[in-house]
């Protein structure tokens, strides 16, 4: 056993209080120092925090950014989602392969650089994009890839790859990123100014019950996708039994095509933290956790700094907002590359230092959440709305937007449009208007709500963006007339296959089968009966899956079957003599003909 590893692991565990619920932080740190978490390291960690080795190994094997095999000093993760593909990532893929002389999933022979694919990293408006360790590189071209690899080989310092800084806080020394905000439309809720402390002071001047009442009056619903009324969630959390309560902010933003939380975190972090503190006051919590996706690690130092500023303003810490006895502080929990951790119960598992497996409900997090205590989990944007509601009043907020969906919504628009970026629009806006704003009038199809949402076409463009019609957590992906929508569906399914936690069969197996059948149709081997099969299987996966991932993963198939059926039908063929079109006897015999050295007598 190497002494240096032992010393390091002990020091890392010590820094986390030898607390087994902090295993995520521990393994992340070991990964970053040693390039992997070896079996030996896992044993050491398990022993030090009094966990079983299998628990530590379970965590390491679960997350995409952790590994038990050595990775390069620098890991390049190129987004391989469909938006990047549309932006020409195929050329980027080739350039990386050639410049590094390795394929994806491999490490250069000198052990210095690893090349990988990753799903959406929240840079869809500046695709193709990649992560180089924690550093984000955007708008890649083959030339920039070659230059980047050359530089990396020379100095191995990803930070130095950032030459041109982005706008706003992206240029802040603690962020130092080439990322752009692309805020195309500001509205009164999220992107308006707020004097730090104004909202919080108004909140603590009221009783917690009154704050909750105001949130209910505002009719605020969660911005993360599911749209649950925030006031009611807080009420449940406040009234549930428990010695401690927690406020968790979901900044996992993993739904492909969503990048609005990234912009909030960059430009409106004070608003967010103030909203979290108000939530803490309302539900009676002392601790808040910001669960930050690993892809946004480049924002961490900056966010820590904002937290410190909030502390020095008295907006976090002891007697927050000047309110005697109201203590509230926030820590940042880093994720490690798992879409499923955006699901609130999986997010809680992850915060507890476990695999990001969703939990059975009930009990709901409001009853038994983080460490078994009543917990409210809300989206980044939801907390921002909260702060604004407290500042401007629930009535002001409620008159924005539509009846069932008050306020504004951030949309992150990407794909085939002239102005991809973030738009703050009032709820109830027609999709057609949104497309006009973004310069996407030509759209053949729009994926509203990310892969887990629905794909709609022209006949639905006059529907409204709101909870009761076209719901979205923010993702709006535009597909122009030149796109093969079935290919898009296949890519979305690939994403779900990859990101399924594997716990339940309908999702783990069903998505694979769905993808197989869609691919078969794409290859011109589909027949009429395949459409009924897809419909049936899709509904089964939706109905029988345990959590929101499996309950929505069939949506790309089901919504295109509904809205773009003719696209499927144009690819179908008629089978002859009951033979399966997908079975190719010549291909099935090719191997044997080579081995045996003769041709088939039957075929």
């Amino acid at each position: 056993m190497s002494a240096s590893l032992q010393a390091a692991v002990q020091e890392i565990c010590q820094a986390c209080g030898n607390d087994r619920t902090r295993v995520m932080d521990i393994v992340r740190e070991v990964q970053s120092r040693f390039g992997c978490v070896t079996g030996e390291a896992m044993d050491l960690i398990a022993k030090t925090v009094s966990a079983h080795r299998v628990e530590v190994e379970g965590v390491v094997s679960f997350y995409a950014f952790l590994s038990d095999q050595p990775k390069g000093e620098v890991v390049i993760r190129l987004c391989n989602d469909v938006i990047d593909e549309m932006a020409g990532s195929e050329r980027i893929v080739r350039a990386f392969r050639e410049a590094l002389g390795i394929d994806f999933g491999q490490t250069t022979p000198d052990g210095r650089i690893t090349l990988e694919h990753t799903p959406c990293i929240g840079m869809c408006d500046q695709a193709p994009a990649a992560m180089v360790n924690d550093v984000i590189v955007t708008r890649l071209s083959s030339d920039s890839v070659w230059a980047m690899v050359r530089e990396l080989k020379a100095h191995m310092d990803p930070k130095r790859l950032v030459q041109k800084l982005g706008d706003g806080n992206n240029a802040h020394s603690l962020v130092h990123a080439m990322v752009e905000n692309n805020i195309r439309r500001s509205g009164p809720v999220i992107f308006a100014d707020l004097t730090p402390g104004d909202a919080l002071k108004k909140a603590v001047a009221m009783s917690p019950q009154e704050v909750i009442r105001d949130i209910k009056t505002s009719r605020l619903r969660g911005r993360g996708g599911a749209g649950f009324p925030t006031g009611i969630k807080w009420d449940y959390t406040r009234s549930a039994e428990g010695a401690k309560r927690y406020v968790l902010c979901n900044a996992d933003e993993g739904e492909p095509g969503t990048f609005k939380d990234r912009v909030i975190l960059t430009e409106k972090a004070e608003l967010l933290f103030e909203g979290m503190a108000i939530a803490g006051y309302a539900v009676g919590a002392e601790t808040g956790i910001l669960y930050l996706r690993a892809e946004y690690a480049y924002l961490r130092a900056f966010l820590e700094d904002v937290l410190n500023r909030q502390r020095s303003r008295g907006l976090l810490g002891k007697d927050v907002g000047g309110k005697r006895g109201f203590d509230f502080d926030i820590r940042i929990q880093m994720g490690a590359g798992a879409y499923i951790c955006g699901e609130e119960t999986a997010l809680i598992s992850s915060c507890e230092g476990l695999r990001g497996d969703p939990k059975n409900r009930p009990p709901f997090p409001a009853q038994k959440g983080y460490l078994g205590c009543p917990t409210t989990v809300n989206n980044v944007e939801t907390f921002c709305c909260v702060a604004r509601i407290l500042d401007k009043g629930p009535g002001w907020f409620a008159q924005l937007g539509s009846q069932g969906s008050s306020g504004t919504k951030l949309l992150s628009i990407s794909g085939d449009c002239k102005s991809p970026g973030v738009y703050e629009v009032p709820f109830g806006v027609k999709l057609r208007e949104v497309l006009k704003m973004a310069g996407a009038e030509e759209a053949l199809a729009v994926q509203v709500g990310g892969p887990s949402g629905q794909m709609v076409g022209e006949k639905d463009y006059d529907r409204s963006i709101c909870y009761d019609d076209l719901a979205t957590g923010g993702s709006v992906m535009v597909f122009g007339p030149q796109r093969n929508l079935l290919h898009v569906v296949s890519k979305f399914l690939e994403f779900f296959v990859e990101e399924s936690c594997g716990y339940c069969t309908p999702c783990r197996v069903g998505n694979v089968l769905l993808k197989e059948r869609v691919d078969r149709i794409l290859a011109g081997q589909g027949e009429e009966a395949d459409l009924a099969y897809l419909q049936d299987l899709g509904q089964t996966v939706k109905m029988a899956s345990r959590c929101g991932l499996g309950q929505t993963s069939a949506n790309p198939v089901l919504s295109t079957l509904k809205n773009f059926r003719s696209m499927y039908e144009s690819l179908l063929r008629k089978p002859i003599d009951g033979k399966q079109l997908s079975f190719d006897i010549h291909q099935a015999l090719a191997d044997a003909q080579t081995v045996v050295g003769r041709q088939s007598v039957h075929f």
Partner: protein
Amino acid sequence: MAKPKVATTSLAGCFGCHMSLLDIDDRILKLVELVDFDKSPIDDIKEFSGRCAIGLIEGGCCNEENVRVLQDFRKHCDILISVGDCATMGGIPAMRNNIPLEECYAEAYLDGPTVHNPSKQIPNDPELPLLLNKVYPCHEVVKIDYHLPGCPPSADTLWEALVALLSDKPVALPYALIKYD
């Protein structure tokens, strides 16, 4: 009216499913009152004599001959039933699917512990059907109308299913017949 005809075959199976069919015991007398057997190992008829109402398939497809026979069944039968786990899923023979075909041939004809083959020649007589790259369940090769799981499906399961089909009734398989542990 002529009795409907039934054909059966064993592809990449062990004949266990056919044995199970024989296990219906004296009900076989009733069965021959209901149907005539066409191409089948049971009566040793080698080629189809005409159109059949039902084809029972045991085993999946591991070689080219299996494919030819199965396609022939599809052509001649109104209804095809995959009988048993080999037909429905590939079963035991499909355990080779994770091993490259070349290694399978080598193990069988060159390197296996009981192989004596000084010429190191893999048999290539046209009489020996070529193996497929993997073992396929029947429905991946042709359209299959029904699947009867089990290894083998019990005689009662087969009986109930056949009688229901022949009398045009929905098949009612009680839990005991489709429970496998």
